[in-house]
Symmetry: D2
Subunit: 134 residues, 4 copies
Amino acid sequence: MFKTTRRVEFRDTDAAGIMHFSVFFTAMESAECEFLRSLGLGVVMPDLAGQIAFPRVSARCDYQSPLRFEDEYQIEVTAARIGGTSVTYDFTFTFGQRAIAVGQMTSVCCRMSSDGTPTPIPIPESILQRLRDS
Amino acid sequence: MFKTTRRVEFRDTDAAGIMHFSVFFTAMESAECEFLRSLGLGVVMPDLAGQIAFPRVSARCDYQSPLRFEDEYQIEVTAARIGGTSVTYDFTFTFGQRAIAVGQMTSVCCRMSSDGTPTPIPIPESILQRLRDS
Amino acid sequence: MFKTTRRVEFRDTDAAGIMHFSVFFTAMESAECEFLRSLGLGVVMPDLAGQIAFPRVSARCDYQSPLRFEDEYQIEVTAARIGGTSVTYDFTFTFGQRAIAVGQMTSVCCRMSSDGTPTPIPIPESILQRLRDS
Amino acid sequence: MFKTTRRVEFRDTDAAGIMHFSVFFTAMESAECEFLRSLGLGVVMPDLAGQIAFPRVSARCDYQSPLRFEDEYQIEVTAARIGGTSVTYDFTFTFGQRAIAVGQMTSVCCRMSSDGTPTPIPIPESILQRLRDS
């Protein structure tokens, strides 16, 4: 489990005066990147045969309570399901004691060809190990 | 059922060379707004007692195939489930014959107080009727 | 001179209830792309020796009056100065008769190496001709 | 003078593999907010007669060198010109020793009516003092 903190920036808000619902998805992605960096991994990793990346196949968010400009909120990231070729992350957003949202994203391990076409491959053992130990 | 067309703008892309996964959510919202406008409705509507709005409680997207800069894609919107206080929209993204993504968003009908606090209320009959006829 | 129309989408707004000042820059870029498409050109163009692109060196906007959600506004694009290696576009934003903003962007013609490093080159004659005739 | 640090997030990038030119403007705004917070001020401030805000009238950026995904860059903010009703901020972007961009934004002190209409007013003395001492 990994925790990080973000602040609602002015561009994150909308005319309803709250953080726009789409911003939760970029916040999840940034929290995932921070989590992977903390494990010595990346969302795009070079290996001997080229590049390994984890394109998303699914993303969702359930909203419980809004965030406003300058609110400093917490995101908890967990690698909830680690399959042979995919990882599902769970995200919990809180603002102090208040529940804000829960989200989930599933990414598939792929070898990227030089023109950017992804081919799913088993997650390399070294990556699996770090995710399982997280 | 309602159909609209959008083009991938340069700001919609990311360093992987494809439309960023979060942009599907703003595209769904814009398609929903167009759909409601086509019915003479809005995402925020004044009524005798103040304002009625439809804040989202849930949003998800499953990705099948990427979009690239300048691709002109189609979005189909359906009011799939119309409950007493909520509406669930289904979205289908296609690029020519190619399946791109399917999404879903659920919004709850709320009266908005002057400070922006939402209170769920039954969807007014006049709105229900137009959604059901769509 | 080229004219196009855009509508303020909900994600374009901020907590002040108006189109966020940064969105004028993505709107200028999209108007530039449309303008170039109308001339049979692109912001990135393949040629015999690889790729030609026009990275920006400068962008500015002066704001006169705000835009709100769902406002349909006009953008006028002019290739105001066409130099040996650069192009400066002028943009005028209006909403009906109301002046909204004026903007300016300067791009430099570059050959892009395979790793994305830009080297300034003279604008090819075929491109110059179409810009001058616009 | 005020300094802050940001990291290029994945959503900040575009298909050219670099931080999109419009993101420099949201980064300037966020740096301005941090700067004002450090002085005990805000971009929107309540006072006895309602609300004081600083809508922008002008923004510009000159680009020297690109930023890539995960680059951690510095922004320096200076209140370069403090007039009777307006403030002009200068911004300098650097990545280590490398010059990235310079920017400028001018904001006008306004009283905001309850419907969001801005009326320019002289900057209150208490705010002037803190900006001059910064």
